[in-house]
Subunit: 345 residues, 2 copies
């Protein structure tokens, strides 16, 4: 049997805590033997949830008590500093001390991002750890990198994002030689804001990635690129607009189907097939977003995540650990710095 | 009868020229007496198109010959300078010389934007003329301002965009006291990149607009704000992603409906109602995007525009002229500069 990957799951994080994170833990260890889940949070609350289940391998789940909860509205930096016994801080510290390999949370995005950087710490050479969700396309999925809290990135950050994203898509998602593109306001090379114009030639020079040039936002959902590189403010707009346009359109379609008797009957007939299709275009199905470039893995699942998403997040951690993604990222980043250094000498 | 509004239509611009611009001209003057359309482009080509129609008021259409055509791929600044006898330059010069009130084109966006600024010229006090398309929402439409070619805007530009957009939505679209919001990566006031953080308090101080704070991209399609203020790079991403997610989802839905016999029958029944609904969420239905803050009105319709969109563009020009939008914008901008000046003294 392969060595067990130890994944901390924040049992207090998200709109559906503790029920959904605990269910995810139970389902994950029931399905796979190579996982150990550590649930952090209020012991009695978690125990009560766990008592609802039976027949799962109990030795693969451990509960670590944490008496505090960080709320979504709390200022992240302050919360991480003050709530030392919160499920997030306790979990991240376990990763820091190498008592666990990864941390999954549906709690405060800000606290997870800040805590990941401050407590777990960046890999050597990584300037900024990007948050990189998988987004659905008509072809499959693409990695959108960065959607994190650090806006106004510099060109060197974007180049690192491109490299980390490339390694992730190749090794975790299994796409050979993934196509990397930078989000731009036109397809021509002379287009772009100051940041993109400065970054474009740097990406073009990168030998370790398969850079295909600019991508217009229109072409992102069609899956033209596997790794979609952008600054976090733009990434946030893309991620949230994906969701917004999707749900507005679905609402419109539902209304449209209810306009006549004829279409109402039709709606009943297409409903099951349609539901399946729309699910495949739902960003929440893909197991959360990894925070890349840290010494351990931190995965942020949606605040509204159900057990299935959290479970996928846990599985992602296993793949991540077994494929040694962090080591690969650290290696690639350091390699390039050596090249830069020797070039400067 | 009201005074005729003189609208130049670029008969050579767009994928469907000259057929669709000419058809739009014929339909516009057939529907309304208060419009005169001036078609610019190759005389013999336009005459041949016009010969296909009869029974329209011929005295409301004039053809002005222009021997050159600016192609979409040409560098805009160069094209405007060199092709002095192109349909775009000839048309914009007519607006400049006040021989026409407005110019509508489906041709090169870059050339229309550059030409609008260079040839027609900015209104006094306007720092940057924004391109502001109407985008569909579940409630109706919102104005997305700016989607132009000038990226990396300054806070003062965004404040002017908010004011111009507000005047437009109130007077052209008819929304009383329109809600103005700035695109941000979170709803909280402390969120934002450097530009948004600097702009937010300036908008808050603006007494002439109904500023409601930040808007997350997720809430744009739900119509939370009537005027959605952003820098052009972000605006471009929003506009194009709208289109991209929309068409990806529609493709997915069509595929989904074809998966079983049951759903295929259902698809036949819902098709007419669905088509109608999706049309209402199609950005190309709304008559193009005005380039605001110029001495005359310039409207950019989609490259793929059909006659109906161009016709709506023409009608928009009439509304714009009759409501004296340019005068209102110039007044508001100058007013504020007086206030600033007296404050500084």
């Amino acid at each position: 049997m392969a060595e067990q990957v130890r994944v901390v799951v924040d049992a207090m994080g998200g709109d559906n805590a503790p029920a959904e994170p605990v269910r995810a833990a139970v389902e994950a260890v029931t399905e796979r033997q190579d996982i150990k889940v550590i649930l952090t949070g209020k012991q009695e609350v978690i125990d009560k949830e766990l008592a609802k289940y039976s027949g799962y391998p109990k030795n693969q789940i451990q509960v670590v008590n944490a008496s505090q909860v960080i709320e979504t509205a709390e200022p992240p930096v302050f919360a991480i500093r003050k709530k030392k016994d919160s499920s997030i801080v306790v979990g991240l510290n376990m990763v820091k001390k190498q008592e666990a390999d990864a941390f999954v949370s549906s709690g405060s995005t800000g606290a997870v991002l800040v805590g990941g950087q401050v407590l777990v710490g960046r890999s050597k050479g990584v300037e900024r750890p990007p948050l990189a969700p998988l987004i659905p396309t008509t072809k499959g999925v693409s990695l959108l990198i960065d959607c994190g809290a650090n806006v106004d990135a510099r060109p060197s950050h974007l180049v690192q994002f491109a490299k980390m994203g490339s390694i992730y898509m190749e090794n975790v998602v299994g796409i050979k030689n993934p196509k990397v593109a930078i989000v731009n306001n036109g397809a021509e090379e002379e287009k772009g804001n100051a940041l993109v114009k400065e970054t474009f030639p740097l990406l073009k020079e990168c030998k370790s990635i398969n850079f295909i040039g600019s991508i217009e936002a229109r072409d992102i959902p069609a899956g033209y690129a596997d790794v979609v590189v952008c600054e976090a403010f733009v990434g946030n707009v893309i991620l949230k607009l994906y969701e917004g346009v999707g749900s507005a359109l679905v609402q419109k379609i539902k209304e449209g189907m209810m306009t006549s008797t004829r279409s109402k009957i039709g709606a009943l007939l297409v409903k099951p097939a349609l539901k399946e299709t729309l699910k495949s275009f739902d960003a929440t199905e893909y197991g959360g977003a990894p925070l890349l470039g840290l010494k351990g893995l931190v995965v942020k699942t949606h605040g509204s995540a159900k057990a299935i998403e959290i479970k996928h997040g846990i599985f992602q951690c296993v793949q991540f650990k077994q494929e040694k993604i962090n080591e690969k990222i650290a290696e690639r980043i350091l390699e390039d710095q050596e090249v830069l250094k020797s070039g400067a000498e």
